[in-house]
């Protein structure tokens, strides 16, 4: 009896600042209407993932009052979110290989969930031509789904773009006039993921066929500019075989009619790897860079003047940046492997006013953000 009594003695508890209840993040960095973007978002959706990638939950931030709703539903723990055509897509990546389709605001369960097959590793989703196209990083095709039933309605074969490992590494997609422009990274998985080329491919949304492709440089990523005919392309690998920084990357404008333009910015200029680009309009954006010590820096980039302005540096891992409204850019900051004390959270900056040191940290999420989308 004594033992049982001892057992039932409540274990100790500690104070914690975490919680699943709504919390206020404070100022979200509203800078007023600059007229620079045409978007009108109400909510940021944040996929938050534990530092060890063992767990993930969905959170939202109300853009009007900054209220955070955390722990709305559990997610695959390697995840991306995409807001598209009135849906919120959750992409469960390698090991999950699934897509969930939510109606924004109704988080108790998705309206649809489907597997893209073992090892499919969905990277991006885009709705055009009446179909939802899913790019599969682990396969050699785009899958096409019918939004009415969310059943597979077709496959766009991109095997002809594969490099020596047989997988083309299909990444971001940008829609321009019923054509999907697709980043094809062509990394050689059999040899340490070294770059084997790098393409932008054009896929007709209606016909679902590969129409053209352009060589753009190694490891490309595509960065959309709202309302513009064209998009930015970032290229470049991060390290050489000796894990030395490779400053071979550039950012250039891609015109669907003429292809890739001249480099507008080179990594050599910054002395660091460009890891992400978020454009709030055609001439203003934010760059994330990584140096040899794995410290990250955020820069404002004025394409018109060709100038870059350092905003801040951090030892946190800046996983990505996405343009919001009013010139605001949201950055996902996570704990860095090289600095276990580094902070995770959402960073908001104004890419138009571009005042160094004006970034705002929001770190009251259960986990650090991994992916952010707006609707």
């Amino acid at each position: 009896m004594i033992l049982v009594t001892l057992f039932f003695a409540c274990p100790p508890v500690v104070d914690t600042d975490s919680g699943d209840t709504a919390a206020h993040t404070g100022d979200t960095g509203d800078t007023g209407d600059t007229g620079s973007t045409a978007v009108d978002y109400t909510t940021a959706v944040v996929a938050t993932v534990a530092d060890d990638y063992s767990a993930a939950v969905l959170a939202t931030v109300d853009l009007d009052d900054g209220t955070v709703h955390d722990g709305l539903t559990t997610l695959p723990s390697d995840v991306g979110v995409v807001a598209e055509a009135g849906h919120l897509f959750v992409l469960g990546r390698f090991g999950y290989d699934l897509v969930r389709v939510y109606t924004p605001g109704a988080w108790s369960e998705p309206v649809a969930e489907f597997s893209v097959g073992d090892g499919g590793n969905p990277y991006d989703v885009h709705v055009c031509g009446g179909s939802a196209f899913v790019s599969l990083y682990g396969q050699d095709a785009l899958e096409r789904y019918d939004p009415a039933s969310w059943l597979l309605s077709g496959v766009v074969d991109l095997s002809s773009l594969a490099d020596s490992d047989g997988i083309p590494e299909i990444a971001e997609m940008v829609e321009q006039d019923d054509t999907l422009f697709v980043a094809v990274q062509q990394l050689d998985q059999d040899n340490g993921w070294v770059a084997n080329g790098g393409l932008v491919a054009a896929v007709g949304c209606t016909a679902g066929t590969l129409d053209a492709h352009w060589e753009v440089g190694p490891n490309p990523s595509l960065h959309e500019v709202p309302g513009e005919a064209g998009f930015y392309v970032r290229t470049g690998v991060y390290y050489d075989d000796e894990y030395n920084l490779m400053l071979d990357g550039i950012v250039a404008w891609f015109d669907p009619a003429t292809g890739l333009g001249a480099p507008l910015l080179a990594e050599g200029t910054l002395g660091e790897n460009i890891t992400d680009v978020a454009m709030v309009d055609k001439t203003h954006g934010l760059l994330l860079t990584q140096d040899a010590a794995s410290a990250y820096t955020a820069w404002c980039w004025d394409v018109g003047t060709g100038t870059t302005t350092e905003l801040f540096s951090t030892t946190s891992y800046l996983a990505g940046a996405v343009a919001g409204e009013g010139g605001e850019v949201w950055i996902s900051a996570r704990q860095s492997w090289t600095d276990p004390e580094s902070q995770g959270g959402i960073l908001t900056v104004d890419a138009l006013t571009c005042a160094p040191g004006s970034e705002v940290w929001h770190s009251d999420l259960q986990f650090a953000p991994s992916s952010i989308a707006f609707y």
Partner: protein, 709 residues
């Protein structure tokens, strides 16, 4: 003093408390002291120094075979001695036997032959040190010992020390010690088994002695296709239309293992040479949602031991040296496990030496000491990026001194221990990311002083009251720091884990000659850890170790072992525990610790008729437990029934048995869809697993035939 090999012979001299004798020995002794009348306690120890009030005598008063293994009633430590015997199903393995002890939770990655490891009292798997005949297979928790690699038939008994382990192990694990003791019996035995999934097992053993030499040898071959049927939800929690059953491909195994030991007695000395090789070739099936069809692992292991023991008038001493080598070759040509093709070769070596001694200078005091050191190194070739990692090594040493102080006619025994441990990390190298010193290499030397105290009170011969407290240290092992398999990724930033463990308990035994014999145990335990190292499964179901901050486990363990009227054997154990992450500021604070099920139950019962026919039943239950620190993902409860029947019509006949594991074919359970949201009423079907993505098998048949030669 002398060692005996042949017929027991009297040993002249002073009192020899039983703990001074290696527990596997058959001895006759001439104790100095007679047992006091009215204290019908069994065993040689009770006739010796403890009852010092009795006058000394030079008369041989006892010739008795010493009981096998430690007597749980005469040690303060919580120990269970498991002896595989007629009441053990023929299909049993080391893991299933260990699971029968209180305070244990076995975690499996599949069926027979698949990875299995044990947690003691809510410890992590590495906080349990496994010894083979007193030699550590994972010193300081270096790697998790896969219990499936250890052939049950080679062992006469398995000692499960929960918490405070004896000084002679030179170990201070947070969870405890499991000691596998090879058999002593002479003669031979051959056994063949075959069953579901083309699982086959054959083993042979032989033991004999000639003059001053004796030897034992055991060899086993095990193979399985492992193509079990399992439930796959296709990772789509909300989409039930794509749920289906699949076959576990690439789950075959072939394992050859042996344990051999030879001993020579020369005067007061006994010299032992032993070797335990293992070769294992297996397919790696990957997780259920990320299956692999071509990935394979080949493992070679060899443990070579040399030991010299000597006994004096009132003391015994022992020096052991060993070399443990483990080679693991992972071939994942298509990168199925984590997306990166690999051809890796890991080689881990441990060279160790340990000396221990125990002394009985007086009737009430028995000091003991142990000192040892080891060198361990790891070489990893073809890691990520294609480059070979530099060899890494470290030195570790420990000194432990302790004593058993037996007072009040052995009604009170105090067992204090002080252990000093040191690590030299200077050869560990640097991290690949920062080039800084490897943690704990940031401190080139790590030292720890770890006291322990055990108290045993025996108000009645049949009742033992116990209490233990101790401080423990475990450095991260080389796999935890530098592991680079596709499914095991090291973390070079890990810090050593430390902790306190406390327990209290009571053990009651029934008289040996009563119609009902047996024992009952009840205990409570607390485990408070700092920087606990927890292996978590990431999004790709790979395992990565991380440090938690402060953690807490408390629980109750109980066991009842009964033998009724000579025809019914029953053993039951229960572990009920609460765990909590007390890391301040952590987003996972106050959550349960991963893989720490609140409730585990094991019940085994069998009835027999003169051992010519035996029918048995076993039930195990493991309650749902969380896989992640935030307690968002929960395993299904594991409720398994098993039954078996064995017959041997006469002594000349072989024993034939038929076992059915998971009798009810429980491979799925209906569980809450969102365990983190108690308001969500939805339920889903999920596979029964111990590790996410590694389904357990359904109904399994095994037929076994064995002969005693």
């Amino acid at each position: 003093m002398g060692w005996t090999l042949g017929a027991p012979r009297p040993i002249p001299g002073a009192g020899i408390p039983r703990p001074l004798w290696p527990p596997w020995r058959e001895v006759r002794a001439t104790p100095l002291h007679r047992a006091p009348p009215g204290v019908p306690l069994p065993g040689l120890v009770l006739l010796t120094a403890a009852f010092a009030a009795e006058p000394a005598s030079d008369t041989v008063v006892v010739e008795e075979r010493a009981p096998r293994g430690p007597d749980p009633s005469t040690t303060s430590a919580a120990v269970t001695v498991l002896v595989p015997g007629p009441a053990t199903p023929a299909s049993a393995d080391v893991a299933s036997v260990v699971e029968g002890a209180a305070g244990t939770t076995v975690h499996r990655m599949g069926g027979l032959g698949d990875f299995a490891a044990v947690s003691l009292r809510g410890s992590s798997l590495r906080q349990v040190e496994v010894f083979l005949d007193g030699v550590p297979l994972n010193p300081d928790g270096a790697a998790v010992v896969n219990l499936a690699e250890l052939p049950l038939g080679a062992f006469e008994r398995i000692e499960v020390w929960r918490g405070n382990a004896p000084v002679r192990f030179g170990a201070a694990p947070l969870g405890g010690v499991i000691n596998l003791v090879p058999g002593e019996a002479e003669g031979g035995r051959v056994s063949l088994a075959y069953g579901s999934w083309d699982t086959g097992r054959a083993h042979a053993s032989a033991a004999g002695r000639r003059g001053n030499l004796d030897g034992q040898a055991f060899a086993e071959a095990f193979s399985t296709r492992g193509d079990l049927r399992y439930f796959d939800d296709n990772a789509t929690l909300y989409n039930l239309t794509d749920d289906h059953f699949r076959t576990r491909d690439n789950n075959d195994k072939l394992q050859l293992s042996a344990v051999a030991r030879g001993r020579l007695v020369v005067g007061d000395w006994r010299v032992t040479l032993a070797d335990a090789p293992l070769w294992r070739d297996e397919g790696l099936p990957g997780s259920a949602n990320l299956p692999a069809s071509t990935a394979r692992m080949r493992t070679g292991r060899n443990l070579a031991v040399a030991r010299a023991e000597v006994c004096g008038p009132s003391w015994v001493g022992e020096v052991s040296a060993w070399h443990l080598r483990r080679d693991e070759a992972l071939d994942d040509p298509d990168g199925e496990l984590d997306g990166t093709p690999r051809l890796e070769h890991d080689q881990l070596d441990t060279v160790g030496v340990r000396a221990s001694a125990s002394w009985a200078p007086t009737a009430w005091l028995q000091p003991s000491a142990s000192v040892g050191g080891r060198w361990e190194g790891v070489e990893v070739s073809d890691p990520k990026g294609g480059d070979d990692a530099p060899p890494r090594a470290r030195l570790a040493g420990s000194v432990a001194i302790g004593a058993d102080v037996r007072l009040f006619r052995e009604r009170l025994t105090l067992s204090p221990v002080l252990q000093l441990s040191a690590l030299d990390n200077r050869e560990l190298g640097t991290t690949s990311t920062t080039q800084d010193g490897v943690s704990p290499g940031a401190e080139p030397f790590v030292g720890s002083v770890d006291p322990r105290l055990g108290v045993l009170v025996r108000p009645l011969p049949a009742l033992a009251l116990k209490a233990n407290a101790g401080h423990y240290l475990r450095p991260p092992d080389l796999v935890e720091l530098f592991g680079n398999h596709a499914t095991l990724e090291g973390n070079s930033e890990l810090r050593p884990e430390t902790g306190w463990q406390f327990d209290v308990g009571a053990r009651a035994t029934l008289p040996d000659r009563a119609p009902v014999t047996g024992s009952a145990e009840l205990g409570a335990f607390w485990l408070l850890s700092e920087d606990r190292i927890v292996w978590l499964q990431n999004s790709q179901r790979s395992f990565t170790p991380v440090n938690f901050g402060e953690t807490w486990v408390q629980g109750v363990e109980a066991a009842v072992d009964l033998h009724v009227l000579g025809w019914l054997d029953q053993s039951a154990s229960l572990t009920w525990q609460l765990s909590r992450n007390l890391t301040e500021g952590s987003r996972s604070a106050n959550r349960e610790l991963p893989r720490t099920p609140p409730l585990s139950i094991d019940e085994a019962v069998s009835v027999h008729w003169q051992e010519r026919l035996r029918v048995g039943y076993r039930f195990t239950y493991t309650s749902p437990n969380y896989w992640d620190a935030a307690n968002l993902y929960q395993s299904a409860p594991r409720t398994l029934h098993g039954a078996w029947v064995a017959t041997r019509p006469t002594e000349r006949w072989p024993t034939v048995s038929v076992d059915v594991l998971n009798l009810a074919d429980t491979v799925t359970e209906v569980v809450p869809r969102n365990p983190a949201d108690p308001d969500d009423p939805a339920r889903v079907v999920t596979a029964v697993t111990d590790f996410a993505g590694y389904p357990l098998p359904g109904r399994t048949f095994m037929v076994n035939v064995s002969w005693n030669l």
